[in-house]
């Protein structure tokens, strides 16, 4: 009995010692983390560790911010985007495919291109990840639809410049990049269902089946951005600050205006002088 009690007490002491060690370690780590974020002489608290021990009074305050958008607006969570359409026109601007109930549809001969933009609107670099999901319902559906996706700098995530893969190749397609502060990146997703894809029987079977049940293709895009280890690194496109008009034309017009102004002023002075002479 005494031995049993001694044994239990021994285990208890061991546990207490271990907990004491854990407590010491975690407290030490906590204190060191807090130390990195102590206010500087100006009272500003850095959101990133300040490794510079000298107090130079101009510590950088990180303000990360990120935005994804397309030509319809800014994304939020599960935003409805326009990868597909309700109707499609052919080369002669004639609507040859149109949904009968405002659902978005696809058919042989239809295609579309969708572009979205990622903008680092903060003042520190961000690491972002783009992940695409593509699936059909029912899951055993074989759709002869092709797809591809590329980035603004012509990096192909799926497919290539002259190459389309089956649209389901977009599933789990991923791209990452470090976006510098103020810069942006963009992606273009193309899909198509060739009118002559070599299997009219399949196209007909799908269209006939679609008269009785919904055969759907879904594409989802998820973006995630986190602070980069190097707040001043990264790449990306600079935002366009002007329009695309030719500056040369406007410069010529400006010079002509100045010349005309000069002529008008000069000729007016001459007239006034003549009138004074007459008097």
């Amino acid at each position: 009995m005494d031995n049993e009690k001694k044994q239990k007490r021994g285990w208890l002491i061991l546990i207490i010692l271990l907990l004491l060690v854990f407590f010491t370690v975690t407290t030490f780590m906590l204190v060191s983390r807090f130390n990195d974020f102590l206010p500087d002489s100006s009272g500003a608290i850095s959101l990133i560790p300040d490794d510079d021990d000298s107090d130079d009074g101009d510590d950088f305050v990180a303000q990360p911010d990120f935005e994804v958008s397309d030509n319809q607006g800014v994304w939020s969570t599960d935003t409805k985007i326009d990868i597909f359409r309700v109707s499609y026109e052919n080369g002669e601007a004639v609507t040859t495919v149109k949904s009968d109930n405002e659902d978005k549809i696809i058919a042989p001969g239809t295609e579309n291109s969708y572009t979205f933009k990622l903008h680092n609107t903060g003042n520190v670099a961000l690491d972002y990840e783009v992940v695409v999901e593509a699936y059909v319902t029912p899951s055993d559906l074989k759709l002869p639809v092709d797809g591809r996706m590329n980035r603004y700098d012509n990096k192909w995530i799926v497919g290539g410049n002259n190459k389309y893969d089956n649209v389901l190749a977009l599933n789990n397609a991923t791209d990452t990049m470090t976006l510098a502060a103020g810069r942006y990146s963009s992606y273009t997703l193309d899909w198509r269902w060739l009118f002559e894809q070599g299997d009219d029987a399949l196209d007909t079977a799908l269209g006939t089946r679609a008269a009785d049940e919904d055969l759907t293709l879904t594409i989802a895009i998820k973006t995630t951005a986190t602070e980069s280890a190097d707040p001043h690194g990264g790449g990306g496109m600079l935002p366009q600050t002007g329009d695309n008009n030719s500056a040369i034309i406007w410069a010529i017009l400006a010079i002509c205006s100045i010349v005309m102004m000069g002529i008008l002023i000069f000729s007016k002075d001459e007239e006034e002088k003549k009138e004074k002479c007459k008097k």
Binding site: T77, I105, A107
Partner: protein, 216 residues
């Protein structure tokens, strides 16, 4: 008492460790932003009906119809001089008729249709055919090529009525040669009539095959 005190110390240390661990994880919190977008589309419907039958299920559907179901005179009025036998449809010089195919496109895509008519006329009954009652040709094959190929029918509510007329010219002398069936004479007409009295009279049957195709 001693054991209770040690248990209390152990419990307090456990709580302290848990608290400090939670606090540390908070100091490593980083900025994270997520945004997502999605879109779905369904396959467009394809459905073409001819006389109420969905031919999209079978791309080249064959419709059997009786071109001679309604026999009229060559002015397309009620025939008064030719008697219809029981259970039979008979034709004779001076008779005519027509049949209308109703084609409906309830698809979500534009389409065209082609009606291929096939005539079986071993006895060379001199029938002429037309799609408008004005311009006549000697064979259904000629009719198919000129008037029944790639006819447009719009999506959603497109409806087309395709009528095929036939006639057996009565008075060879009273019409222009161009309106007569090639080789038709009173002698040939009479011979067909005499043959009709035999056990194997001349017969003619028409089969129509309708093909619908999506427009690009």
């Amino acid at each position: 008492m001693r054991k209770n005190k040690m248990m209390r110390i152990a419990s307090a240390l456990l709580v302290a460790v848990l608290l400090t661990t939670c606090a540390i994880s908070g100091t490593f919190a980083k900025y994270i932003s997520t945004a997502s977008g999605s879109d779905s589309a369904r396959v467009a419907k394809w459905s073409i009906e001819v006389e109420g039958t969905d031919i999209a299920i079978s791309p080249d559907a064959t419709i059997t119809f009786d071109l001679f179901d309604t026999v009229k005179d060559t002015e397309f009025a009620a025939e008064e001089n030719v008697t219809v036998g029981s259970g039979e449809t008979i034709i004779a010089p001076g008779t005519s008729g027509s049949f209308t195919l109703d084609i409906t496109n309830t698809s979500e895509v534009d389409a065209t249709y082609t009606i291929a008519l096939e005539e079986t006329n071993a006895g060379n009954i001199p029938l002429k055919y037309s799609v408008n009652g004005t311009d006549w040709v000697d064979s259904v094959a000629e009719l198919t090529m000129t008037a029944l190929t790639d006819v447009a029918i719009a999506k959603e509510t497109g409806v087309a009525e395709q009528t095929v007329y036939w006639k057996w010219v009565f008075d060879n002398a009273a019409v222009d040669a161009a309106d007569l069936h090639a080789g038709q004479t009173d002698v040939t007409d009479t011979a067909l009539g005499i043959q009709a009295d035999d056990a194997t009279p001349a017969e003619v049957t028409i089969k129509a095959t309708i093909t619908a195709t999506q427009v690009d």
